[in-house]
């Protein structure tokens, strides 16, 4: 197990390295000069070739690409000082660069964006389980009934609609057309500043949209796993012993059925944490996804780089974590 985790970690680091290299190269060899965006911004579009030259020189874009990549990596571990034209910016470890737009260290801004995205992820994921698991269990208990069939097909229907359209319609109709009071002002409001109610009501619609959409999948998984679990021998034994149905279903059946659900949940939670661009864009929640979208539009290269790396790291970690947890929950799985 330990060896496995180490192996996975090594391959994770390798992936992150490759991803960061790919992003680095992409910008380096992208068509316009990598210094062009900051030069335009700093000079209010008075970026003459001579000035562009200054920016390229101070940002190190005249060095070979591997030298600069080395500096970037060095910055992550020990921090560095970044020079832009004649201004110097201190960037402590782990240094992900300085935003071209705000001149703040990217790391600090990243940290300040995490609560919004985390709020989405925690609420959305909670609703996945809250809706998904009980409905799935109920459907499995009544397998084959009309209710079960109706449920399965209606959930299949919902999950077949592109998510962003579902979210967009939810927002347009509930917030704009019907002006439902609870949903009137979507967005991220920090608990510490605006209080828990404002935070809750700002997030609620996004959670509901995510929850309703995402729970269909959990229902399917739970139902499938429950159906399988309930046909196992030990359940038959339990039935033969005369245990009450409730005990059989919840204590014996559900416990076994939850294992695959937990794994999916872990990965989904990671995906949500890694940035929910559509959710944030539609419900105007200024988290990491929103930030990334803004950065791409504003050509804020250090931020784009940081968001992509952040997402990759989160995904790799959540995958690893899930595999480990899976092996603990289900003794049949042996990691190698």
């Amino acid at each position: 197990m330990f060896a496995y985790v180490v192996k996975r970690l090594i391959s994770g680091v390798l992936v992150v390295t490759l991803v960061s290299m790919a992003i680095f190269l992409l910008f380096w060899y992208g068509p316009s000069s990598p210094a062009q965006p900051i030069c335009d911004r700093e000079t209010s579009n008075r970026c003459t070739p001579a000035r562009l030259d200054t920016y390229e020189r101070t940002l190190g874009y005249d060095n070979p690409v591997y030298v600069e990549y080395g500096k970037f990596v060095e910055g992550i571990f020990v921090g560095r000082t970044i020079t832009i034209a004649s201004s110097e910016y201190e960037c402590g470890a782990p240094c992900l660069g300085v935003s071209f737009r705000t001149k703040q260290p990217v790391k600090e801004e990243l940290v300040s964006r995490i609560p919004a995205t985390f709020s989405i992820a925690i609420g959305g994921a909670f609703l996945y389980l809250l809706f998904g698991v009980p409905i799935g269990v109920a459907a499995a208990k009544r397998r084959g009934s009309v209710a079960d069939k109706a449920l399965v097909s209606s959930f299949l229907f919902i999950s077949s609609i592109p998510y962003y359209l579902f979210a967009l319609l939810t927002w347009l109709y509930l917030t704009i057309t019907f002006e439902v009071p609870l949903f009137s002002d979507t967005g991220y409001f920090p608990i510490t500043q605006d209080g828990p109610f404002k935070w809750f009501s700002g997030m609620f619609l996004a959670w509901v949209a995510l929850g309703i959409f995402g729970c269909t999948q959990y229902t399917r998984f739970t139902r499938g796993a429950m159906v399988e679990a309930l046909s196992e021998d030990y359940i038959r034994t339990a039935k033969a012993k005369g245990l009450p149905t409730r005990t059989i279903v919840y204590k014996h059946g559900l416990r076994a059925a939850l294992v695959p659900v937990v794994t999916i949940f872990g990965i989904d939670f990671g995906t949500l944490l890694a940035g929910t661009i559509f959710t944030e864009r539609i419900f105007e929640i200024q988290g990491i996804g929103w930030w990334a979208l803004e950065a791409v539009q504003g050509r804020d290269l250090p931020v784009v780089q940081a968001t992509a790396l952040f997402s990759a790291v989160i995904l790799i970690c959540s995958n690893l974590l899930v595999d480990v947890v899976y092996s603990v929950l289900d003794p049949r799985v042996r990691l190698s």
Partner: protein, 590 residues
């Protein structure tokens, strides 16, 4: 002066393409049962060197309250360093509230801006040929920490504006560098490693008097003095960039409480500011909160709802789709203000050499259609233009190149092309458009449609960042292919010298037409040496001469801004000098 938002890249790009209809300003607002409104036009050129503090009280004004300003689609300034600012957003806020300079504007009863003294006791005195200006710094102005603002600090602030590497976006790169003596060779206090500014000889301080020597005659120094770059900066490391830009020391009625770039700027009362020392500013509200990068639609909803949030709020923009509602609902609280900007198309003077072809382009441009597709309201946010000097600028002549306003007329365009000898085949036009903004794309579709109907063939090249990148870079491979460019330009002060030379002098950076006529260049140099009272008319005459003789630039529209004020904001007016709400005179009704 240009706006500094990335969407202002959009604005910049769109401005090229978005123009107004043939309606004219007389019929604007006359729809939907709304109020007939007149523009906050400006006559320009009025000065009052005698004005002393305190500024006259606004009738009915009350103290207290918080004013929230929404800036839709505008990320605001990247830095608050007064020397680095050259944007409508940043300068309008800081010059009105936090950062004083040599001179300033106040709004008179008719809504016209008047140039009055600020940190100087008057508007400065120049020698005969405007090569030396002396300003006397008043002794009663203070910083937010209570220390007096000294003449040395003002001189140091002015010296900073010469550091074009440390402040590449600053207006000093254009004016200080061009006009001040020895400025061209001086790298500035930071880049030149001259922290006390000892190596620049162009400025001298004697007691409270500051004397600036000019390399070339600079009759507009008093206007230039109204820029916050011409204000004080604490000596030494206290004002070192970039750190100073996050929390500059205030000397106006408000000081920076918190500042998150691209998000929010909170200003609170500066209790060290004394009204007696300032002829132009007030300190009514307790607090100003500027919210940048707001969503236009959301702000429109808030402002039109008149809920408790919006009653003490101001918005610096209004979506064109909301104009009808706003016009009928808001009355005086919707303010239209000329922004002193012109949008132009610039045919390459070296490639399109026949004036008839340039005029044909002007007739083939579907003004109203471009404008609607680009999300503007004809006759309201865009009005037809006859020349590059915006309406109301001192000396501006009311002439029309062809006797009447040029409007979309493809037949006339074809005739002109035939006259020029291009009647048989479509005349090829190559231009760029900003692809990222759907509105700019839609506007380009209209332009292409109009040009093709007028006898041209159009190759429109999409670009992913500001078209200015292409237009301003002589080595750009796309730029070399273009024969039609564009530029939107706003005046920095109400004089022709901030419009004509930057756009039409041979070799000027923003002369994207590459227009270069020796006689015009000489005339521009000559005007600067004329007696001050003759200059305005001379610029106006030159404007007319250029347009009628050469027609090197196609003015497509003059730009107007719309501001929305909450129902509890007192004195809802615009600032005619800069195209922003009149922050100096706002108050919250109690």
């Amino acid at each position: 002066m240009k706006r500094n938002k990335p969407l202002a890249l959009v604005a910049g790009a769109a401005l090229l393409t978005l123009a107004a209809c043939g309606g004219g300003s007389s019929d604007d607002g006359d729809n939907g049962g709304g109020t007939d409104r007149t523009f906050g036009d400006q006559e320009g050129g009025t000065k009052d060197a005698e004005r002393q503090g305190p500024a006259a009280e606004i009738e009915g004004a009350a103290a207290g309250g918080t004013i929230t300003v929404y800036l839709p689609g505008d990320p605001g300034p990247d830095t608050l360093d007064p020397t680095a600012g050259w944007s409508v957003t940043g300068n309008s806020i800081q010059q009105a509230l936090t950062s004083r300079s040599l001179t300033q504007y106040v709004r008179d009863e008719e809504g016209q801006p008047v140039l009055v003294p600020d940190l100087a006791t008057d508007l400065g005195t120049a020698n005969e040929d405007y090569t030396e200006w002396t300003f006397t710094i008043r002794d009663d102005a203070t910083w937010e920490d209570g220390q007096p603002v000294t003449a040395e600090e003002v001189a140091f602030g002015i010296c900073r504006s010469l550091d074009s590497d440390a402040f590449p976006s600053g207006a000093g790169t254009e004016y200080s560098k061009t006009y001040f003596e020895g400025a061209a060779d001086y790298e500035g206090p930071y880049t030149g490693k001259d922290p006390k500014c000892e190596n620049w000889s162009g400025i001298s301080v004697e007691g409270q008097d500051i004397t600036i020597s000019m390399a070339t005659p600079f009759p507009d120094m008093d206007y230039w003095g109204a820029f916050m770059a011409m204000g004080p900066a604490p000596l030494g490391n206290a004002s070192k960039p970039p750190n100073y830009g996050t929390k500059p020391l205030s000397n106006g009625p408000y000081k920076v409480d918190s500042y998150k770039p691209n998000e929010e700027l909170v200003l609170v009362k500066n209790d060290q500011w004394s009204a007696d020392s300032d002829p132009g500013r007030h300190q009514y509200a307790d607090e100003f909160v500027f919210k940048f990068n707001q969503d236009q639609a959301k702000v429109d909803e808030i402002m039109l709802s008149d809920n408790s949030d919006s009653q003490t709020a101001v918005s610096t923009g209004l979506g064109s789709d909301k104009y009808n509602d706003a016009n009928s609902q808001l009355g005086d609280r919707l303010v239209q203000q000329t922004s002193q900007c012109v949008a132009t198309l610039t045919p390459d003077y070296t490639k399109i050499t026949d004036v008839n072809v340039r005029k044909a382009l002007a007739y083939a441009y579907p003004y109203e259609d471009v404008w609607i597709a680009g999300g503007q309201v004809p006759g309201v946010t865009r009005i037809p233009a006859n020349s590059v000097m915006p309406p109301g600028m001192a000396g501006k002549k009311d002439f029309q190149v062809d006797g009447e306003q040029i409007t979309y007329d493809p037949e006339k365009s074809k005739e002109l092309l035939a006259e020029a000898g291009y009647g048989d085949e479509p005349y090829p036009i190559t231009m760029v458009f900003y692809e990222v903004d759907p509105l700019a794309v839609a506007a380009q579709d209209q332009i292409t449609k109009g040009f093709e109907a007028g006898g041209f063939s159009v190759k429109a090249i999409p670009v992913q960042d500001s078209p200015y990148n292409v237009w301003l870079d002589p080595d750009n491979k796309v730029n070399k292919k273009l024969n039609l460019r564009g530029v939107s330009w706003c005046s920095d002060w109400p004089a022709g010298s901030t419009m004509l030379p930057p756009l039409l002098k041979g070799g000027a950076v923003y002369n994207t037409a590459l227009f270069d006529e020796a006689s015009v260049n000489d005339e521009m140099d000559n005007i600067a040496t004329l007696p001050l009272e003759e200059q305005a008319d001379a610029w106006g005459a030159l404007d007319e001469k250029i347009m009628t003789e050469y027609f090197p630039i196609i003015p497509t529209a003059f730009l107007n801004d719309l501001f929305v004020f909450g129902s509890k904001i007192g004195n809802p007016t615009g600032d005619g000098s800069i195209g922003a709400p009149n922050y100096k005179d706002l108050y919250v009704m109690q």
